[in-house]
């Protein structure tokens, strides 16, 4: 059984990484699209981001260097990722449920990363992880882990309850309820494991250390091992499942902001964007409406430059 638990954990994590990478590649390889930005654009410089202004307010903007502030992006993205600022501002009722849910995920993720780091460093440089560092980890891992599980469960239950209310119920598919139940069950089993068998997270920390050092040591037997194994299996399945659903919005959101909402780079005459545009305009058109008559051979350039003035039928 031990081997099976390890295999499921490896498969779950590997599937997650591949699926997330595939999503990232999919979004980043999409063809150039027309500009569709939305203000405020966080990286706009010159103090304009504060009121939603753009470089288009400048006289002869095409002759001037753009003022782009990466710090401006961080000032928006970091609070947005950590505190879900947009949701708090525009949907506070849901934020009271969604924020603990996401915070729970973050804390569980941080606890997992700490356990992995502990495992890797402990194997490579045991001295570095001993003493005060070990003591800090022995406090932080259970704290983040347990708090994360509790917040995640409460948040998921809150979200489930909110989805039962009329204005959201009709827009919620069975899969959406399943997702939340999956979180509650997987986090719930892990919490039970913590409460009944692994109060210092030593059991799970040991498993993670084995995992990251490829030391497939036997887990043993007994209730504690059963609980640990069950929680590992459920969490691994959950991790693998997430990127196959719309919950992969943590990848999509990056592109929604950076490739769409904030994508404001102008195409300056003779600049490096023109080649991509030429390429796009050579794509074939198959739209069938009478004013287009796309046959799959005509290109966008062809249809955009077709003469639309009335033909002299007498000639």
């Amino acid at each position: 059984m031990t081997a099976l638990v390890y295999v499921i954990a490896y498969v779950g994590i590997t599937f997650f990484l591949i699926a997330v990478a595939a999503r990232f590649v999919m979004w980043s390889k999409m063809p150039m699209h027309v500009r569709w930005e939305l203000y405020p654009v966080a990286h706009e410089g010159g103090g304009r981001a504060a009121y939603g202004g753009s470089y288009l307010e400048e006289t002869d903007w095409w002759k001037k260097p753009r003022q782009v502030s990466l710090l401006g992006e961080f000032k928006v993205m970091v609070p947005e990722i950590l505190f879900l600022v947009a949701l708090r501002e525009h949907n506070p009722r849901l934020w009271t449920r969604s924020f603990p849910f996401h915070l729970g995920l973050y804390l569980v993720s941080v606890a997992t990363i700490l356990m992995m780091a502990d495992g890797v460093i402990g194997a490579l440089m045991p001295a570095a992880i001993a003493g005060p560092v070990a003591r800090v980890l022995s406090i932080l891992v259970p704290l983040f882990g347990a708090a994360g599980l509790v917040l995640g469960i409460l948040g998921a239950i809150g979200l489930y309850q909110r989805r039962m209310v009329r204005d959201m119920r009709d827009y919620t598919a069975p899969a959406d309820f399943f997702n939340l139940i999956f979180f509650v069950v997987a986090f719930g089993v892990a919490l039970v494991n913590f409460l009944l068998a692994d109060r210092d997270f030593q059991g799970v920390s040991g498993f993670v250390a084995n995992l990251v050092t490829f030391n497939l040591a036997p887990l043993g037997s007994g209730t504690a091992v059963l609980l640990l194994s069950l929680s590992v299996v459920l969490l691994s399945l959950l991790v693998a499942y997430i990127p196959t659903t719309h919950m992969s919005h943590f990848v999509g959101k990056y592109f929604a902001y950076h490739a769409i909402r904030w994508r404001d780079e102008p195409n300056i005459a003779g600049g490096d964007q023109e080649a991509s545009i030429h390429e796009a305009l050579q794509r074939p058109v198959s739209w069938s409406a009478p004013h287009i008559k796309g046959d799959g051979k005509k290109t966008w350039l062809d249809v955009a430059t077709e003469d639309q003035t009335p033909k002299d039928e007498s000639s």
Partner: protein, 534 residues
Amino acid sequence: MKQPHSVKDIAKNAGQSMVHIQPQDQIPLPPPFDDPALDPPIPELSDEAKAKYAVLDQTIAINIERPETKEQEDEFVASFLRGLEKLFSTDDNWTFLQPFEMSIEHCAKCQSCSESCHIYQESGQNELYRPIYRSEILRRIYFKYVKKASPKIHGDIDLNWETVARLIELAYRCNLCRRCAQTCPIGVDNALLSREIRKIASQEMGIAPKELHADGSVLQLSVGSSTGMTPLIVKDNIEFIDEDTAERTGITIETPWDKEGADILLLHNAGEIMAWPENPGAFATIFEAAGLSWTLSSDIAAYDAINYGVFYDDVQFARAAVAHAQAAKKLKVKKIVLGECGHAHKALTVIADKVLTGDLNIPRESSMVTLRDIIRSGRIKLDPSRNDFPVTLHDPCNMVRLMGIVSPQREVINAVVPEGRFREMAPHGVENYCCGGGSGFAIMSGHNFSDWRHHMTGRRKFRQVLEAFADEPMDQEHPKYLCAPCSNCKGQLRDIISYYDAWEKAGIYYGGLVELIVNAMADSTPGFIDWEWH
């Protein structure tokens, strides 16, 4: 109030309206328009119209005729599905593929967008007008009938003629203002999905509102302007406007046509020439007084800045953008300046940015910027005391939220209006509300569509205007100026002010930005703004 109970209702009860909203169902307007009993209800559609066309709600935007045979019905649905598949094609929809897929895939249905939508809120929160109602229908059709996914994953929907026809109609119940997209925590854009539905209808099925297509972009590209003006007629009209403006201002002007080598090609929305001739007249007065080198073009499509394709059709959009750029190239101008037209601003400056290359990639600038620079330069003498009346500013969505041109127009107003006379609406700037005429609605008026938009799409802006002037006596003896530097917005504001008789009852008048400038020009005869309802 009648409203749908479920997304699935879209496929049911053929031929019947899904909603019925009375003024009493809506949030009352501020004084002096706060008595719902005095608010005229939306007139009923005729029985003939209801029998002949797809019926979604209390109005009809596009006259989708009911099919006579089952084959026609099936072909209609099949054609929609073909178009939907093309939206996911890198060839047919490279223009919007990434934003489209993002919005299809990542909506969490959290309803954050609902609060931001002026139509949903002003309808009394009628479910049909919830921003994700139409998006969810499109999403479910895609996953169930194109991707063949289980309805348990993405939700269920029945697909029939009613579903498709109503969905297309419903795509024309959104102003495409993208306020909902601004509030989405994930970045989903319901307005974009409305536009993509419109694209399927137009680009694949040949269905579009006649005001936008046959009488809009097609007319512009074939005759020269959606107003029907030929080059000869537009020149005549501008000549008349020059003479009339000179009479009113005492400043002689002669609008230059087709001046090769001019610095600026000015593009007006031709609707200004027909409906608000004082606007192009004021532009000419200011540009001449400032000594700018500028010209208009009499080439086909180039004396009309409109680009209705931006509302419904990428191909028509590209054609108009290319026509505008070709005119500028022919005249060898240094830049194109967009007059007071919001969607023309966005179309040619932002969206066409990924269409125009090489010698067609001529710089484009907002007239808000040009006008601000003229004011800053001190080249025209100003007497702000001539604008001693309350002024508020409407922010056209296309120019502000979608382009980030926020401060130049405010700088101009503060220079031409006495201190304390300008007040902002709440909210304003990039968080503004649409005038209600966005995405072509301002020119759409079939059946009772105008009544519908006054009640649903224009009501929030009208409320904002009344609130902005709430500290002023609400009568005609105390005129107030609603500045709207956009032709389509002005059309909508004119209509709703007229609908509620707000000039007579509350002294609310409207106009553009250049009119305020000329009214404050010390060298001009006073009284350019005549406070006469046109």
